[in-house]
Symmetry: C4
Subunit: 232 residues, 4 copies
């Protein structure tokens, strides 16, 4: 069986979604990418978390062909494939319908960075990617979702390695990271920061974005050469 | 004992209500319908979920007569009977007082379709059925509730097979499906989408309904001939 | 030991508060009343639910004297005593700091009856009792709390047997019932209806009170001679 | 090993954070102070609660030097050190990112005292400390956080022994108490009162601060010479 270690990681990352309260039913999927073989492992479509095993995950190449697996892959697999091709350096992707993040997506709004809880993980507002056109929806919907995310990051000059999350307008969150587990971590952080931000925005109509120096400080306390948080 | 297989399904569907966080105390009921015998099986009135067994469920005909059972059926049984008679092709019905859905019912508002989480299951806004008149309330209240739901769907041209949920104004949600289990699934989806929509509506006063092409795409990804979600 | 059966009921009713999510720490108390002996049993002050036993509950007479018990009774005991003296026919009282109900108390607002979830249990708005004066607070605070509740019901013509709940403004809910267990049930219903009503009031500024005929129908479906809900 | 009894208290206090729903992942830390040795014990930086033991806690002096421990202390240790030096009589400090409190911090607002739930523990509004300047953030950020808290209490004339909590604007809550356990208790009270207050503030735009006599009564019912709540 291909990629046994990666299968285990992706299995554990998928199972973390219900544990972290990020999914109802089967409404979420996690994948992990192996840069050497250029293959990724993803949850089968519509399978319950109770039925999931490392062995029934599906292995695909970046063109979306199933390389190993009896089951159909997540319908979102072409989104994952496109992101692995165009967001260099990522090794895992998570998609959920977690409710605070979806509320921002439904409203068509970025999640602004209004607290250090957000700044510790995402180096700026989490962007809301505009709804696809009718044409983009009809053909290759899921691949076009990936294209729209990549295009929005390019147009708005957002670095996908420091802001590793996006909202598809009227749909929901996609997050990514260096591996499957980190992409799930980012999905939870996004949900928590959306919750906090929603509550803060009910208390005030002021612009409460962090000043740049506070954003810099908190992000850099946890990331890069100047990081000093944690034991590493 | 009649309808043993259906009894088990209806029992399990009722027990899923507290597991899914959809009821407090005894504030919910699920029934399942057997098209061949034209009988349905429903939860007894006011019985706690701890006391419920497949054997103490109540079997009724579509006129509301108890065919088998020691206990009184749910007071909502005439609503269920009316819906089985007039909504062709349904095999299960759920009623709860889940709080996000009841909030929309209390406000007298439809739950608008503002995200794909909604569109994946309900093909349009979930309608709020106007409060019954004093006369409708006094005589045959529960049957008149069923009539009002059916009338609203007819008047507004809503297809009950693709929008399998309604809110009774100032009361709460009714959902249905091909069997008891699916009706519970729809009750949970309605609660989740009401929660998301409520939160989105606190963030913006814009009309954030899905465009038709996005609604079509997501509903049809999971339903009908063009469906490609899941393993079936 | 006095009142062993009542002690067990009051113990179980107190233990239901954390199970139903109605209290943090020790912020709640339940008592039960024995009409024959004119004594009531109440939780000791500040004792954790883990330490509570039927035996360490405190027995008081209606003047507030401890008749049996090593521990100090709840500081709210004089409120309970006053209500037992002046609200005829009640046998149990619950006080909590549950957060949706306290939000209404903090805002100084009644919980209006906007859904059948409320009407099934409380026959009208749950009144908010005005904050005590400085004088009422300084002397016999807890007894004066009971007096203010009874006075508000009298002034507003509310029947304490059909609307068995009140909010003390800027403080929190008191509920009562035929016994300790029913008073806890009413505490949970009040919390749920406050939650629903709060959410409905974020969706609309319209007056969404139930019409009288719907309030009558639902309350009487569960109470009095015309009741037909449940197995009794 | 130094301070074995204090290590156990601080360990238990840290473990209470996830039990009380106050932290996600590693986003919180508790310390305890030994006045005799002028040393404090704190959680290691970024360590998961599953990995935490009394033995791997870190012991520091008030200058921030590690006196005992293999792991790096919490990055917030200099904030704790500063508060121990300048807030006389405290023996424990807690920092979390609990979401209702952070919402107030993000909005830059005090948590006003609008209910007795708040007044039972904090003798007035919980102040929001203004965001640090760019200069304060760049050098000795964590120590400057402590300085800003102490300065705000001095400038606003707030007694840190009766209002034992602060919000750092755009960041989150710090609470303290006579020992580690009490500081965690205060962290939970702050979260609950922020939740209640947020909900009350959605219901009304009136000034709903407690009158002074009600604040006095409730605070003094639980604290000081006139206290009569509890068994002590």
């Amino acid at each position: 069986m291909l990629l046994e270690k990666l299968r285990l990681e992706v299995y554990q990352a998928n199972m973390a979604l219900p544990e972290l309260g990020l999914v109802s039913f089967t409404w979420g999927n996690v994948s992990g990418y192996d840069a050497q073989s250029q293959l990724f492992v993803i949850k089968p479509s519509g399978l319950s978390y109770e039925q999931l095993t490392p062995a029934n995950l599906v292995v695909l190449d970046l063109s979306g062909n199933v390389v190993e697996g009896e089951l159909k892959p997540s319908t979102d697999a072409p989104t994952h494939a496109y992101l692995y091709q165009h967001f260099s350096g990522i090794g895992g992707i998570t998609h959920t319908h977690s409710s605070w993040a979806v509320a921002y997506a439904a409203a068509g709004l970025d999640v602004p960075v209004v607290s250090t809880t957000h700044a510790d993980t995402f180096f700026g507002d989490v962007p809301c990617v505009p709804t696809l056109t009718a044409k983009e929806l009809t053909e290759n919907y899921e691949q076009n979702t990936g294209k729209a995310i990549v295009r929005t990051f390019a147009e708005r000059g957002i670095n996908h390695l420091t802001t590793s999350a996006a909202l598809m307008a009227q749909h929901g969150p996609f997050t990514w990271g260096k591996d499957a587990g980190e992409s799930v971590y980012h999905a939870k952080v996004l949900e928590v920061t959306a919750e906090i931000t929603h509550r803060a925005m009910q208390l005030t109509h002021a612009d409460i974005h962090l000043p740049q120096h506070l954003l810099d400080k908190h992000y850099q306390r946890k990331h890069g050469k100047t990081a000093y948080y944690g034991q590493a």
